[in-house]
Symmetry: C2
Subunit: 337 residues, 2 copies
């Protein structure tokens, strides 16, 4: 593993975005969102995802020139069309607009259609929390999970993000797909020859298994909580497609290289006109103190809050350099995508 200074990673990605054909400011923002994701330790959705992003520009799924536009709305809720522009730029713009609406109305919601993969969903939660707002957002995805009681996959793993602003940037940001494990994680376990820590799907005989290769073969991954995550995935897809007027999971190409036309929801909450920051912080401190006082299974591993690992890795990677795949880094410097 190679570590490179964060500024170098951001700069190289910026050059690469310009090389792909993105305009100035948009290239800088798109690069920053990729670089921050790797900096924060979400390696699957940062630099490592750039080749697929470049591939989707090449195959026409991503239109670099497209910018989202408002197509309808009423006071605190609006529909936007992403016109198949870069998914992270569309999502960033949508959350920014939800924040503006929340500042006006206390609550704001943008339902975004015709967009592309938002990369790290947590980015838009951190964005809202940095402005002092609460946020809830989610995306639909291609079908990769069987519904409870089904063999064939008709549900997406529909990542869900919930962000809670905290002092000094130590926000609580939950960023979770509704599958127990992503296929990326399952493949990584197979490659390492390891079993999953808990059952992640069914084998060919229809038994729950921790064997990652068996799940890759059956394509029957588990939703979180079995029937519960199955229901949650369904309603997230319904809300996203119905409110945005966009495509639902069953209409998306079943090919990750062509997974385009997603629907997403961005909800921001601004209680600042009726509650002072110290009251919010006092309530949150009590909750987090109680959590951290819980008796740990292993005293060497105290209970963590969502976002805590992100902050730790961010600090470490800014100090030591951001870990990058050496081959990918070389390709990025040569702009050979």
């Amino acid at each position: 593993m190679l570590r490179v200074p964060y500024a170098d990673l951001d700069h190289a990605l910026h050059r690469a975005m310009l090389h792909l054909g993105l305009d100035g400011d948009r290239a800088a923002l798109c690069a920053r969102l990729f670089a921050e994701t790797t900096r924060d330790g979400v390696y699957t959705h940062g630099l490592n995802r750039f080749p697929r992003f470049a591939g989707m520009v090449a195959n026409g799924c991503i239109d670099l020139a497209a910018e989202p536009t408002r197509v309808a709305g009423a006071a605190a809720i609006e529909r936007w069309d992403g016109h198949l522009g870069p998914g992270n730029l569309n999502a960033y713009a949508a959350m920014q607009r939800a924040i503006e609406l929340a500042r006006l109305h206390g609550l704001g919601c943008v339902a975004l259609s015709n967009t592309n993969h938002w990369m790290r969903g947590g980015s838009y939660g951190w964005l809202a929390a940095e402005t002092g707002l609460f946020a809830i957002c989610w995306t639909n995805t291609l079908a990769n999970l069987p519904a409870w009681g089904a063999i064939s996959p008709t549900l997406g793993n529909n990542p869900l993000v919930v962000a809670i602003p905290r002092p000094d940037g130590a926000h609580v940001v939950l960023d979770m797909a509704v599958s127990q494990f992503s296929y990326g994680t399952i493949s990584a376990y197979t490659a390492r020859g390891e079993q999953l820590p808990v059952a992640g799907g069914y084998d060919a005989a229809g038994e729950l298994t921790t064997n990652p290769a068996a799940i890759e073969a059956s394509q029957r991954a588990l939703p979180i909580g079995y029937w519960k995550g199955s229901g949650l995935s369904l309603v997230l897809d319904m809300l996203a497609a119905m409110l945005s007027g966009g495509l639902a999971t069953h209409q998306l190409p079943r090919d990750s290289a062509r997974e385009s036309g997603l629907s997403q929801i961005f909800l921001a909450i601004d209680p600042s006109s009726f509650v002072a920051r110290p009251e919010l912080d006092r309530i949150a401190n009590g909750i987090l103190d109680s959590l951290h006082a819980a008796v740990a299974i292993d005293p060497a591993h105290p209970v963590r809050t969502p976002g805590q690992q992100t902050l730790r890795l961010r600090e470490e990677n800014l100090r030591l350099g951001v870990p990058v795949d050496p081959v990918l880094w070389e390709r990025l410097l040569l702009l050979s995508f």
Copy 2:
């Protein structure tokens, strides 16, 4: 099991509410919410819960005379104080107010503090869906789940409801706690001498188990999706307590007979000013058709949607009579609580 006509159940509950000391219209609504819950097949949270409700009136946790009041707000979001009134009446009023706010602003949110158990959370989802609106609501609860990595319970199972309006009352309503099984369900398996269908918690040795008695002994039930449900429970509690200004899970009495002072969130969404009903129905029909077309594990058990079982049991119970516990029914008729 005894079956009684729905009208008789509703009437007997209404008499019982008046006997407890609730005023006229409020007694009728409170009784109806209990009766509808049993009618819809959610037996744990309807009539069967009435003795505990009466007990909490007797022990002073529920103030029958208290009505919720607005304490603060800004446009689409408001804080209400439930003054420890009956939980189902407070929740009904809060969702009604969220619906009013959504009709004005497209979105509406009520954050409710100092309330009591809302009984069936789904009731407030059905209420919004009946008016053609989307809804998301949740409540915190007493601590009954260890956080991921902890032995001692510091999280609630915080039920979450998502409602999607559909034609002819066939709404999609997800109503799920973030624990894999409630302790009520776990006890019922113990009583029947059955194993849980999937692991529901840890035994005394710290191993995942399907043995319900072992989980009752360890008090280490599982959140859905292990670490994921743990994070979800935490952020739902933070949002509810911070936005309402009320109590968080760690502050609630660890005694279900005195579980009072809850915090809840009611969010309603009204897109009717910019999208016509037929477009919403067309999108939802596509999603549900795709789900029902999934290859079932057992062809005799096609995939179900959240709310479908409710509609089936509602129809059956209205036709055949609502199943009630004979002893409880006798006590209700004698008003002997």
